[in-house]
Amino acid sequence: MGDAASDIQLLNAFIVFMNFVGIPAITYGSQLALGALGLTLVYGILRFSNFAHGDTMAFGTMITILITWGFQSMGLSLGPLPTALLALPFGIAATAIWLLLTDRVVYRFYRRQRAVPVIYLIASAGVMFVTNGVVRFIIGPADQRFTDGERFVVSVREFKAMTGLPEGLAIKTTQALTVVTAVVVVALLFWFLNRTRTGKSMRAFSDNEDLALLSGIDPERVVMVTWLIVAALATIAGTLYGLDKTFKPFVYFQLLLPMFAAAVIGGLGSPLGAIAGGYIIAFAEVIITYAWKKVLTYALPESWEPSGLVQLLSTDYKLAVSFALLVVVLLIKPTGLFKGQSL
């Protein structure tokens, strides 16, 4: 015990773990967190669960992809970084216009009527249908790849050469980019909500709508700013997910479940909760669907070496992981980890 050879083995186990569990889960968690933040903001301000959110992400990503293709054909690029970053502002702007349009045409009416949340829910399903149709009409239902630039920050080969270890660690550009972007976006969001007048007025509106009105906070302005932020969050989350994996409209619809689960686990309406929930879901999903054989082979003494793949659940059931966590939270603590309902 504790001799150099077993230390190396543990190090190898750790590297394999990071390569196949740690880094992918942090990346995926960041994407989910950004998506869940959008959901939770809508819940906190407009007070409904937005079923169109997954398709909003698809819409923003689609616009970003189209602009990216345009830039690529013009020969514009960001060198090692994906060209999509350059196209992102356009995607956000288009999504903002789309969301403000849906608010104007659909949600505002129910706001004035002070409709019950479930009516918004149905209306958001209608918006989901339309957004879904628009996306498929423009870009089709198929997979689209738009990643370019340098593929790796650190490749397995470089890592092995650097460390001399038998196991390698790869960090894809998109993974690094996702985490960095998520940190920057979340920092900006929290700065906005806690330090600026408009951000504080959003929190006030979310906390106590009647008192906010009494204080002269304009609800329409709060709602508009919310949609703008949601457009940015959804487009960024969608684009990062698309860069890291692939863009397919239906996949974005399916992201609704893990994103909702993340938001509910953290406490609907709580931004901090949405972030925590995103990472919890991502880690749980990856850990439960990962085949642990290799890690265990390194980590355990030779005689304990596992015979099977040691995979708890096949990756086809990754949605079941979010769902199970969601059910557990609903059964035990329906308000979520962080007290929800307010920003």
Binding site: A123, M128, R136, A261
Partner: protein, 442 residues
């Protein structure tokens, strides 16, 4: 008093007129397109109506937001396979007991986890113990299950590779489908009812996705994406009819050739069967709506707080109606798979199976059973017809463009997605301008 009778009389006239319009649409389709198309629309429209009836029970009567229609319908489809398909020879012997044992182990794991949770005081120790129990259970479950599954799937994989069913008449699958769906609904209802309405929506969205994932991946049960085909029918095969001299003669007397006559007859028989089920469920739903139970449900829907204050157990009532509604959807799901003659897990899409049914209920008129039936038939007709209409529209729009232009090709290829947009726009318009639907609740 007199005004009430009058208004319900006017309601009846309106209902009748609306149904005549829908009948006209379907019959018109028969004349303009083909009787085959009209009967296909009718059959699926009737099934859609039953699903809408089930959803209306939940939403219209009780205000429950179920976004898992697809899952409950798919469970019905599974029932059709399990009941009607012949058992695969040797498959059960190969791995059946192992799979059964594994499923028992899985259930025992959940039970043990719950037991530990209930018996121990809350704290880190309890959480850790539950985690260990579930982890160990899951590992054991996989260890027992996997070889069994492999053995079953190795039995003649090209044509079977699954357990098969009980080889019983497929009609039995319809109530069985209802039971399966009811079981799943009970589990979900126990978890998510009594919380905010959003939570039921999210939970049902999740269970539906998971049911589909199971159907797609558990090949030993459903053959997964390889599909189960040739589910026995409750009605004769066309080919049998064509061989029957009496049938051919009768067809000739109507001036029909035997092939056409046999297709139409089979479809008519299906439609007749579906109509019988629909009528029975409609009568039952109507009686439920007007019974003390139905009045109480609506009272709870309209004012939950007041109903709770009057001593009604709101959550228990909701569970009842949620299970019942899901069971009806399960029955309809089994009927659908029966009509198709095959289970294709890949074909279950939430937009088609969940949200379209929602549109049917809302367009027809939430809370009105006749409205749901009308909405089912009407929206299904539209769903089928919008696609050719969209294509036609695109052909008109692009007629001026040069052949071979990329835009023209794209527009024509994308015309199919017009119907998603159309359905969404229709839902939004009805919700806003006529939220009570075509046939409002009295």
């Amino acid at each position: 008093m007199s005004t009430r009778v009058q208004s319900s009389g006017a309601g009846a006239v309106r209902t009748l007129l609306m149904f005549i319009v829908v009948a006209g649409l379907i019959i018109g389709t028969g004349f303009v397109q083909s009787w085959n198309t009209a009967l296909v629309i009718l059959g699926l429209g009737l099934i859609s109506s039953i699903m809408a009836l089930g959803l209306n029970l939940q939403w219209g009567f009780a205000g429950l937001f179920n976004v898992g229609v697809m899952g409950f319908a798919a469970l019905g489809g599974l029932a059709a396979v399990l009941v009607a398909m012949p058992p695969t020879p040797g498959a059960f012997a190969a791995g059946g007991p192992r799979v059964a044992l594994a499923l028992l182990l899985g259930a025992a794991t959940v039970g043990a986890g719950l037991f530990v949770w209930r018996k121990l005081p809350s704290g880190a120790l309890r959480a850790l113990l539950v985690f260990v129990v579930v982890l160990v259970g899951l590992v054991l479950f996989r260890r027992v299950l996997d070889p069994g599954v492999a053995a079953i799937e190795a039995v003649n994989p090209a044509s079977t590779g699954y357990l098969g069913g009980f080889g019983l008449p497929v009609l039995i699958a319809w109530p069985v489908g209802g039971l399966l769906a009811a079981g799943a609904a009970w589990l979900i209802g126990k978890t998510a009812l009594g919380l905010r309405s959003d939570y039921l929506a999210i939970a049902t969205l999740g269970i539906a996705e998971i049911i589909i994932a199971v159907l797609k991946n558990e090949d030993w049960l459903t053959r997964g994406v390889k599909n189960v085909v040739g589910i026995p029918r409750p009605v004769p095969y066309e080919i049998e009819l064509q061989r029957d001299p009496a049938f051919v003669e009768r067809a000739a007397s109507y001036g029909l050739d035997p092939v056409m006559a046999s297709t139409l007859s089979v479809k008519l028989l299906y439609a007749g069967l579906f109509a019988v089920v629909l009528l029975v469920l409609l009568v039952l739903s109507q009686r439920a709506l007007n019974s003390p139970w139905g009045r109480m449900m609506r009272a709870i829907r309209d004012n939950e707080t007041a109903a709770a204050a009057m001593g009604k157990d709101v959550t228990a009532r909701h569970l009842q109606v949620f299970v019942l509604g899901s069971a009806i959807i399960g029955v309809a799901g089994a009927m659908l798979t029966t009509l198709d003659g095959q289970l294709t897990p890949g074909s279950y899409q939430p937009l088609r199976f969940t949200f379209l049914i929602w549109i049917m209920v809302i367009v027809g008129g939430s809370g009105n059973n006749f409205g749901s039936v009308l909405g089912g038939l009407l929206v299904w007709w539209l769903w089928v017809q919008v696609e050719p209409m969209g294509l036609w529209l695109m052909q008109v729009v692009t007629s001026g463009m040069a052949d071979g232009s990329a835009l023209k090709a794209h527009l024509l290829a994308s015309a199919a997605y017009m119907r998603l947009m159309t359905m969404g726009v229709m839902l939004l318009i009805v919700l806003r301008f006529s939220p009570r639907g075509l046939l409002p609740e009295r």
